[in-house]
Subunit: 200 residues, 2 copies
DNA sequence: TTATATTAACGTTACGTATCGTAAAGATAT
DNA sequence: ATATCTTTACGATACGTAACGTTAATATAA
């Protein structure tokens, strides 16, 4: 623990400005929430934030990636995995999810996701962190419930998870019915009835 | 019914060309399927079809509407509502749905829907005809099953329907798992187990 | 004759890139 | 120690391209 020979070769030159990135992300988020995805152009973000276009392009390849990064900053609250029944845990989580997505934010996220290159690494990271994090937490909850007999086989776990989390995005995308807390509750209740031990 | 006095006032001048519309729709559809929604620009459609831009704009307000119209031309096959158990009917319908959407077409539809103005009349028509037609047919199937006791209360019909059709679009949008026929089967099976009479 | 079709061009917006001079930080020499 | 390289990022500006949606001019078909 002494020589700096191979440890961190000390970068030269002006360091990238974290403040500039932060300002760009904030401006992007503001535009997304007030004017929508279609108006969140790189030029608009540059004008609003005072950050130069080339600086923005140095951090993000295009407007879609910047939008996803901006939507990623304020994460959704993580689900409380431990304690209680699976139903209680899922209902609590679903309440948070519905609150977070039944808003401008939810629509913007859906649009960003649909518009983005599905193969891009950025898109995959976004999906995993924003969309699938709830689903992954749900998997933990359901596997624990399965282990202690609260739910019973046959359980097609992936199908069951998509039946719980898919409807929220379906309503968000199609807009035929509102995304309400009661809706979230009904989804969880119905899904769990399909894998309940008795016919209760 | 004879005189043309107030019925059909005999249009004067050159009539709109149905052929031009058709050519534009075909070109739009081809571009959607081969190059994707992002590259289906009005100019590209005009160039490919030989129809002038102003003519295209006379029929559709923007590229989104043209895209939806093009996707609307070849409708999805309607579900066979009558006969058999609810499970058989839903599985058959879901097979068709999965086949139709587990393709370029499905992704294009999802993108068009996410990108479109949710309040536009065109968008609403598109949702009703392309997205919700399956769901509506499913409602008929399930209500008949409910009437003859094949499924039993409590049934939150809207939640149940979204649990059946939502997951398909969820997978299409997020792309975390493939949309396969087996997946469709599992969804129908699991959903019906939630409303089955006994604990079977 | 009159409404539509086609073509061409228009102004606008945003794209993504290149270049300019400046700012900030480590390296180097006095 | 302090001044001067060197390197890298910065903000500003301008560029050529692409597509937008509109308009004017001409051709064409009832």
């Amino acid at each position: 623990m002494s020589q700096e020979s191979n440890a961190t070769p000390k970068k030269r030159g002006r360091p990238p400005s974290a403040a500039a990135q932060k300002r760009a992300l904030e401006a992007a988020h503001e535009i997304l929430m007030t004017e929508g995805f279609g108006r969140m152009t790189i030029e608009a973000v540059a004008a609003r934030s005072g950050v130069g276009k080339p600086t923005i392009y140095r951090s993000w390849a295009n407007a879609q990636e910047l939008a996803m990064a901006a939507l990623l900053v304020n994460r959704l609250p993580e689900a409380e995995v431990g304690g209680g029944t699976a139903q209680a845990a899922l209902v609590a989580q679903m309440r948070g999810l519905v609150t977070a997505f039944a808003s401008t934010r939810g629509r913007q996220i859906t649009m960003a996701l649909a518009a983005a290159d599905p193969e891009s690494e950025f898109t995959k990271a976004f999906r995993n962190r924003v969309i699938l994090s709830s689903r992954n937490a749900g998997r933990v909850i359901l596997e624990e419930a399965l282990a202690r007999g609260e739910i019973v086989p046959p359980v097609d776990m992936d199908a069951l998870l998509d039946m719980i989390y898919g409807p929220v995005f379906f309503r968000l995308l199609v807009g035929h019915r509102p995304v309400s807390p009661e809706f979230g509750d009904a989804i969880v209740r119905t899904a769990l009835r399909a894998v309940a031990p008795s016919g209760a």
